[in-house]
Amino acid sequence: MTLFDNYWIHFALFVVIILAFVLTMVMGFIYIERRGLGRLQVRLGPNRVGPFGVLQPVADAIKVLIKEDIIPAKGDKLVFWLAPVVAFVPVLMIFAVVPFQSGALLADLNIGILYIVAVSSVAAVGVFMAGWSSNNKYSLIAAMRDVAQLLSYEIPLVLSIVGVVLIAGSLSMTKIVEAQSIPFILLQPLGFLIFFVGALAEINRAPFDLVEADSEIVAGFHIEYSGMKFAMFYLVEYCEALAMSAIITTLFLGGWKGPLLPPFLWFLIKVVGVFFLFFWIRATVPRLRIDQVLAFAWKCLLPLALINLLITAIQVLVWGEALPWVIVLVNLAIMAVLVVLWSKLFRLGGGRVAV
């Protein structure tokens, strides 16, 4: 154990673990999503490369590697080059504070969740750079959409995290997991809903996939990308999904905790479960319009997140940090009432503009 207590060895070990974990999980996610979408859409999905098509992501990776790398003639070459990197690095950095099991993480920052919030927003800069430097109107529209969407959803997202932090009494990811004798999804059902919807918007997944919006702006910000740079964006997309699944698992589902199975396996199961929800939603619902997306964030999620924060604060004030089980039922009831009430109250707006 003395060997692993050494700072640098710990650091080097976990960098390797995180890289390996992220890359294999992304491959796994691509396979699971394509296969799962296939089943949801009454087709088979990839089943040719390897047994049950498990090697399909590898085949895809080889394909994009040997593709020609095209840079638009009038694009901003430097920014065009940098964009995939700027988008990818912050997403990878999120995993530094994600606890795979008790004590198994790169850096147990005492401000872990704050660090995640700060770092994850940087990825949008990469997307904007890609959209801007491509010298393509479609990708420019996508870039503008991305920034507007990220700015709007960051706020309810963070506010719903604050509820969790209040109950756990710490910003450290490990402490948050340890505080969950009752998973926070039960103590914070409304917070979970808001966080989940916000997460979908944050990682540009359906129904908030306006940045890619295949049927409107074709592929959005990465329309001009090909070869390895395109693969980087593909990687970013799934890395973000993986990161968000891991964060949701840690904040709301009790992280590595679980009976019988080893903790790391529990963590994996929960992450894949959350990811399954992501692509189940993708296979089911259509896409919202940009003004509806923004209206939803400001008029629905933000007030609900504030109310949730207020209720949580009162509960923590009254009962301290050890909330009784009864609160679960109370909070579920509050969530049901608020969601139903708000969905009746708020209007999306939009409509025809006089020109």
Partner: protein, 367 residues
């Protein structure tokens, strides 16, 4: 300092996933809002009308397959009706019923693609269209049984249909008719009352009743605007006057109405097929006509309610083997004429679904 903004031009198409072919929209955008839209047609022009004037009446039937290639049977039917009117050819009773069955099956197949593509344009990631492809596949199997083809059937003939149905056709059709209403329910369960579909499609891309009539729109586009006009009822051709069916209409003429009208029309088509199967007589399916027929001098206009609207063929004969004039009233093109009125002032995403809800096929628009 005030930020200066200016509108910019965005070319949507001719290569774009949502233009359903090679249609081009030259949109002028102010941010996300469409301030001007100029449609550009003609990328798929094949000069079918002129080519047809150099071929005999029988040789022209395959051309009609390639107009609206998602509804070849209907195109065949409209053309042979016009020729029969021109030459005064009688059609055996059994052939009339077979034509009705084929035309209605084709309507279901075409609407499945139309609805699926519309929901795809709304952003539903492929799921609805793949579910609908599953049933369309069954219809294509049925067509393959009778004609040997799965897309360009070339099944109708002047004076009937090319061949009688094989014996396995009717059981397969009966099975299909039995299960199809269940599948339509399934589509409705998936998305009809979905909050996002309602938010996206309700009140968007409105085509007012007056405008719809003025541009002589037809088919689901016209009925979506609340006009109860269906050529199967207004000017019954073939044996449509013997069947009982309703004409579903919308109320405001938005994208949602057009979508719902199509779904309800599928149910009505199933109803018609059921009745046609019960009444199907036996006997001949083809009146013998000379291969190189020479209709008497004159003109004729045959029109039907094709899946996408009124499809008409106007033929002028000068008593030679080839038509003197061959004109197609393409419903897709005419339905598109109000497109810019429907789009201006809406956002890009709305413009895309408005276009999708009209349900066009470029093969017919450009001919």
């Amino acid at each position: 300092m005030a930020i200066k903004t200016e509108p910019f031009v965005l070319n949507v198409g001719p290569q774009h996933p949502s233009t359903h072919g090679v249609f081009r929209m030259r949109m002028t955008l102010d941010g996300e809002v469409v301030v001007d839209m100029e449609p550009v047609f003609g990328y798929l022009h094949r000069s079918i009308e002129k080519l047809a004037e150099g071929r005999t009446y029988t040789q022209n039937i395959p051309f009609t397959d390639r107009l609206d290639y998602l509804a070849s049977m209907s195109n065949n039917l409209a053309y042979v009706l016009a020729v029969e009117k021109l030459a005064g050819v009688p059609v055996p009773e059994r052939a009339e019923y077979l034509r009705v069955i084929m035309a209605e099956l084709q309507r279901i197949a075409s609407h499945l693609i139309g609805v699926g593509a519309f929901l795809n344009d709304c952003g539903a990631f492929m799921t609805p269209i793949l579910y609908m492809m599953r049933e369309r596949e069954k219809i294509l199997d049925l067509f393959e049984m009778v004609s040997g083809q799965r897309l360009t059937y070339n099944y109708m003939r002047v004076g009937g249909v090319s061949q009688d149905i094989p014996e396995e056709f009717l059981p397969a059709l009966a099975k299909f008719v039995k299960v199809m209403p269940g599948f339509i329910d399934e589509y409705d369960q998936l998305l009809a009352e979905n909050e996002i579909v309602l938010a996206r499609a309700k009140g968007v891309g409105i085509l007012p009743k007056e405008l719809a009539i003025n541009i002589s729109a037809s088919g689901p586009v016209l009925r979506g605007s609340g006009v109860k006009w269906d050529i199967r009822k207004a000017d019954p051709y073939s044996v449509y006057d013997r069947f009982e069916f309703d004409i579903p209409t919308g109320s405001v003429g938005d994208c949602y109405d057009r979508y719902r009208v199509k779904v309800q029309e599928m149910r009505q088509s199933v109803r018609i097929i059921k009745q046609a199967m019960e009444q199907l007589p036996s006997g001949e399916v083809l009146t013998e006509v000379p291969l190189r027929m020479r209709p008497p001098e004159g003109e004729a206009y045959g029109h039907i309610e094709a899946p996408k609207g009124e499809l008409g063929f106007y033929l002028v004969s000068d008593n030679s083997e080839t038509p003197y004039r061959f004109h197609i009233r393409a419903s897709c093109l005419i339905n598109l004429t109000a497109l810019s009125d429907m789009m201006i002032g809406w956002k890009v995403a709305d413009a895309i679904i408005t276009f999708g809800s009209i349900d066009i096929c470029m093969g017919e628009v450009d001919r």
